[in-house]
């Protein structure tokens, strides 16, 4: 790849007069030795899986394997259709769609990691709702996924994208930054504006710990995906309005690395702290594993 920071990414786009998505597509084709068409088709397949997960989560209202969560996407969608949501219909749709995909994930259904499964609802929530809202064709959204991927590539290589290494900021935080930057570009923003959107978004999730109840990607992961989609829309609006990330986005990524490296292990996906260790979190865990040990086979 010919960029390793967001600043370089925006500069490369400027030199080649291409969008972030176009640059990523051509760099990826070079890296893999495949044609741009093959590379595009692989990403288009991912976008189909994302849309299918949105549909399935809303229509079928799945329940998680543990039985702890499910049906919230439908709840929000129904509420939205019956009245005037505080967010307005468009942002509330993004929220409902993000919840839907995260619920599919918790039920061991099929999703695309963006960048991880714990954060798999945010990009589909933002993208699929934006597609309906603005009437964009699939091709445009697929290019948006390349843009999101370019941003995630920089974050992942300069910081981290796993909760076990860097907390929730690394998963949900990265996804929000990726969605915000990509949507900024999809809506006609410049690469510089897209990069500002990433920094604005990331600043809002710095320090977020990974504390899943029972170690499951459910509580609080699913609602954080819903919130994440809405936050991405807010960051996009700020960037398109001309708001800048005064601390450059690459430096914000550096802060994510610093904060995540200092995070104690109990707040990095071990279920040993945070919400997982509240009285209720502990009760849920003991009910879950008490039950599991009893009636799960010898292979457990």
């Amino acid at each position: 790849m010919k960029f390793s920071t967001l600043q370089e990414l925006a500069a490369c786009c400027g030199e080649d007069q291409v969008t972030i998505g176009e640059l990523m597509l051509s760099e990826q084709a070079k890296e893999s030795g495949k044609s741009e068409q093959q590379t595009f088709d692989a990403m288009a397949n991912y976008y189909r899986i994302m849309k299918e997960a949105v549909r399935k989560g809303l229509e079928e209202g799945v329940t998680s394997r543990s039985g702890l969560t499910g049906g919230d996407a439908r709840r929000v969608h129904q509420y939205m259709n019956e009245g005037v949501p505080s967010l307005g219909t468009e942002a509330c749709t993004a929220l409902a769609y993000a919840l839907a995909v995260s619920e599919i994930n918790a039920s061991m259904g099929r999703i695309v990691a963006t960048p991880t499964a714990g954060s798999c609802g945010i990009i589909p929530g933002v993208f699929v709702s934006a597609q309906e809202r603005y009437g964009w064709d699939d091709e445009r959204l697929v290019m948006g996924l390349f843009a999101a991927g370019a941003i995630g590539y920089v974050i992942a290589n300069n910081s981290f994208i796993s909760g076990a290494e860097g907390g929730c900021q690394a998963e949900v935080g990265s996804a929000i930054g990726m969605a915000a930057g990509a949507l900024t570009e999809l809506r006609g923003g410049t690469p510089e504006q897209a990069v500002h959107a990433v920094g604005l978004a990331l600043k809002n999730s710095l320090g977020l710990i990974c504390d899943p109840v029972g170690g499951l990607v459910e509580i609080p992961c699913i609602v954080r995906n819903g919130f994440g989609a809405v936050t991405a829309l807010a960051a996009t609006d700020m960037a398109l309005a001309g708001v800048r990330s005064v601390i450059p986005s690459d430096e914000v990524i550096g802060v994510m690395l610093e904060v995540g490296s200092a995070m104690p292990s109990k707040h990095r996906e071990t279920a040993k702290g945070g919400l997982a260790q509240t009285p209720t979190g502990r009760r849920i865990m003991s009910e879950l594993y008490g039950r599991k040990t009893k009636d799960s086979g010898e292979n457990r």
């Binding site: 918790a106 290589n157 796993s162």
Partner: protein, 225 residues
């Protein structure tokens, strides 16, 4: 760079709930299966760090079992993988270990069958990406994002040039060599840009002082790579 391309960020397509604890674990199981070269009769899995704390909630055990059954990360049979493993004749055990020195999402797999044993240590580093860090006591590092050749051999002058000579026009992206001592047992890991044809693998296998060669390639089934 730990993450080399856009599809290590967007992707993989997978069954949930966790890219590191489920999809990465499937890939660890599958990589081990490909190195072992067959369905093992017995697989003893030790989980470390966050894997050890949360593997049941994330279905990490199902995922490793699915990988050992050679499933892709998005195979919906993964949720039934323990039962399928049992009916396929693979005995699986899972336990938690403690080793603060390893990456927080690490698994050790001891695979046995047909009078052979392979011990593989691998970590799941996020987004379904993995790093294999140990094979049968050799310290190596590779990702399974490329066709990967493992050559077990005696440490001797000229061995690497013999191997690379046979590979000829096939470009090598990355290589790692570890030995247990001067002139002792060694392992050479070669990541290539394209699959190595069986005929060339055979020629490497016939080299003097080569005891075993594995071609482990997940790229054909992982469509995007």
């Amino acid at each position: 760079m730990r993450f080399k391309d856009v599809f290590s960020i967007i992707g993989p397509s997978m069954v949930g709930p966790s890219s590191s604890h489920t999809a990465g674990a499937v890939r660890i199981g599958r990589a081990a299966r490909r190195i072992f070269g067959a369905l093992p009769e017995q697989a003893d899995i030790t989980f470390y760090g966050s894997f050890a704390e949360t593997y049941r909630g994330h279905g990490t055990d199902l995922a490793v079992a699915g990988g050992l059954l050679d499933y892709r990360t998005d195979d919906e049979r993964i949720r039934d993988a323990l039962a399928i493993a049992a009916s396929s004749g693979m005995v699986l055990t899972f336990k938690s270990g403690h080793n603060p020195a390893v990456h927080p999402n690490t698994a050790k797999l001891s695979l046995r069958g047909g009078g052979r044993e392979d011990v593989i240590v691998a970590s799941s580093i996020g987004g379904g990406n993995i790093e294999l860090t140990e094979v049968n006591g050799f310290d190596v590092k590779f990702t399974m994002n490329y066709p990967t050749l493992l050559v077990f051999h005696k440490d001797r002058p000229g061995m690497l040039s013999d191997i690379t000579g046979i590979l000829g026009g096939i470009n090598i992206g990355y290589m790692d060599v570890d030995r247990k001592g001067r002139s002792g047992d060694a392992l050479t890991v070669v990541e290539t840009d394209e699959p190595v044809p069986a005929e060339l693998v055979d020629r490497i296998r016939r080299l003097s002082d080569v005891s075993r060669v594995c071609m482990a390639d997940l790229t054909a089934e992982e469509v995007e790579r």
